[in-house]
């Protein structure tokens, strides 16, 4: 069914990103905002903005009933959830379907299947995708110890309802396992409403590799290349790039194939990302989780393929077959994305809100900035700290790194502290230049950054 008017249930740069995609597709846009975002850039660019509640996201962006009511009231025929907030909420997807609205994303069933990380592991296994040795649901600390001894320490305890780096604890010795198990279960119960835990072998020198997939209603699934998101801080991605450097092409092809196999096996529809952990020492990869949404870092895949993933989301949701076959998707050159956050890297990355006094993003060939910020914009205190994504393209990785360095140098932001100085520092590191990143690299080099900047 063609979509003529979509309600965008998000804020910030991704709201603007989706609005711009819709303008090109000739789809009218309705944006739901909180009171804090009434005058935001996406609210002004959308054809219509509707304030659905106060600043607190639980009473606005996380209220799926208000979102569906706004869509119906505004005469929208579809809802795009962006990322975060309700993007992976089966309740929103179900409510949309019940009211005859097209949900621009996967089905509620796909979200449920992949939302429970234990079930996701089983689905990966069933598809023949490698998973880490570990457990299914663990019932007691004693059981946890027995499994950990079989798998071998260190192990990582994860919340079944967690994901996205939340609700995880590494345990090095059997001695601390029982205690950690109890506290992790309590924390998971409080944070996710489900205390269920499972165990996986912990990989010390790990890289985070993920594969962008697109699936249509007719069972066709393609990949749009892999991304390396190893530069993380507290399990949150900081720098992403595509393709993944320093992994042999045949192994990368194997990873991409595994992702497609899993998505195809569950009849996955729309854009999704299959995440893997890559063991840098053993050169092997294992399934981590699948994200059933468009992701923050999708632009790097767009940049090296020329595919507009958000526009594809709309075509798929309209029930059209994929426009491109796997053979049409050519990975060309190298793209890097840096997340510019309103955080003080020298103060433990403390988020800081306030008015942006000067906002001068870099311009030039092969530079893309996805942002909702401008000079005079007040960064609200209620939401995440992402201000912009700086994406550069180069025909080689070295060229892309050089372009990123120079672009960061020209990126002027005053009024609020940003992560730009830290990103600039990372771009200068030999480990990054050599592609020798692991998920603990940032923690390893952070003291040097802090020392150097004092």
């Amino acid at each position: 069914m063609p979509i003529s008017k979509v309600l965008i249930a998000n804020r910030g740069e991704i709201a603007l990103r989706v609005i711009l995609a819709c303008q090109e597709l000739g789809i009218e846009t309705v944006l739901t905002t909180s009171e804090a975002d009434r005058d935001s850039l996406p609210a002004r660019v959308a054809d219509r903005a509707i304030c659905i509640g106060p600043a607190r996201s639980t009473e606005s962006y996380l209220n799926h009933r208000s979102i569906v009511a706004a869509a119906l009231g505004a005469g929208a025929d579809a809802v795009h959830p962006g990322y975060g907030f309700l993007a992976e909420s089966p309740d929103l997807a179900d409510a949309c379907v019940a009211e005859g609205l097209t949900f621009v994303g996967p089905t509620a069933d796909h979200m449920r299947q992949m939302g429970n990380k234990i079930q996701a592991r089983l689905l990966a296994k069933a598809a023949g995708v490698p998973t880490l040795s570990g457990s299914e649901r663990i019932g007691s600390p004693e059981e946890a110890i027995a499994i950990a001894e079989r798998v071998g320490f260190p192990v990582i305890l994860k919340a079944a309802a967690g994901g996205g780096g939340r609700g995880m604890k590494v345990v090095n010795h059997a001695g601390n396992l029982a205690q950690t198990f109890t506290s992790a279960a309590a924390e998971a119960g409080a944070a996710f409403g489900d205390p269920t835990l499972y165990i996986e072998r912990f990989i010390r020198n790990a890289r985070h590799i993920e594969v962008q997939v697109l699936g249509d209603r007719f069972g066709t699934v393609v990949h749009v290349g892999e991304r390396d998101c190893s530069l993380q801080r507290r399990h949150q991605k900081v720098v992403e790039e595509a393709p993944a450097p320093r992994i042999a092409e045949d192994l990368r092809a194997e990873i991409r194939h595994a992702a497609v196999k899993l998505a195809r096996n569950i009849g996955y529809e729309n854009a999704g990302t299959v995440e893997f952990i890559y063991d840098e020492d053993e050169k092997r990869f294992y399934f981590l989780e699948m994200n059933t949404r468009i992701q923050v870092e999708h632009p790097v895949s767009e940049t090296i393929t020329g595919i507009d993933l958000v526009q594809e989301q709309f075509r798929i949701a309209e029930g059209l077959p994929l426009r491109v076959g796997q053979a049409d998707i050519v990975l060309r050159g190298h793209a890097i994305e840096c997340r510019i956050n309103a955080e003080s890297p020298r103060a433990g990355f403390r988020p800081n809100a306030g008015v942006i006094e000067r906002w001068e993003p870099p311009v030039g060939p092969n530079i893309r900035v996805d942002t909702h910020c401008y000079t005079g914009y007040r960064v609200p205190v209620f939401y995440d700290s992402l201000l912009a994504k700086l994406i550069v393209y180069g025909s080689t990785r070295a060229e892309a790194i050089e372009r990123m360095r120079r672009s960061l140098d020209r990126f002027v932001v005053t009024g609020v502290d940003t992560t730009i100085p830290f990103l600039r520092f990372m771009m200068e590191r030999d480990e990054f230049a050599n592609g020798a990143m692991t998920t603990h690299l940032i923690d390893d080099v952070l003291p040097q950054f802090i020392g150097q900047s004092q």
Binding site: D47, I50, C51, G53, P54, R65
Partner: protein, 173 residues
Amino acid sequence: MSNDLTSLTEDHVRQLGRIIGTLEQSTFDFLQLEVGDLKVTIGKGNVPVPVPDAAAAMPPRLAVSSVASTSAPPPQVEPAPAPTPSESPPPTAGSVEITSPIMGMFYTRPEPGAATFVTVGESVEEDSTVGLVEVMKTFNAVSAGVRGKIVEVCAPDAQLVEYGQVLFRVAQG
């Protein structure tokens, strides 16, 4: 809050904690308790205007509109065929706004064909119901929250209203 906090026992504090927890989970904005001399008001956001009897389920947020409204006006929505009153008088100084406590479909009458809850010139009490806002088939009564005379109906019947949108103007008194 009472100024007599010293009379609160540990047990009182514990009970209050539980009430706050319950309020957090609920859709109510505030809660007023009176036990003997002790009067406690717990709420989220703005301090509610005093409500005479039982607390209204959905207290409207009130904004005194002097010349310049303090809160940013809702952005101009798509020109819906809104039957805006032809004479749109500048809000009289001292008049107060009744704003929508939630986003949803606004109804000026209890059911189609029925008389409107209020009309211009009609007097309202704080707890008078002035309209309904529907969210996914749940109807929320909007109370005036103020005593006075309706001077303007600002939102048309059966149209989507935003959170905080002005529904009525009332001359206080």
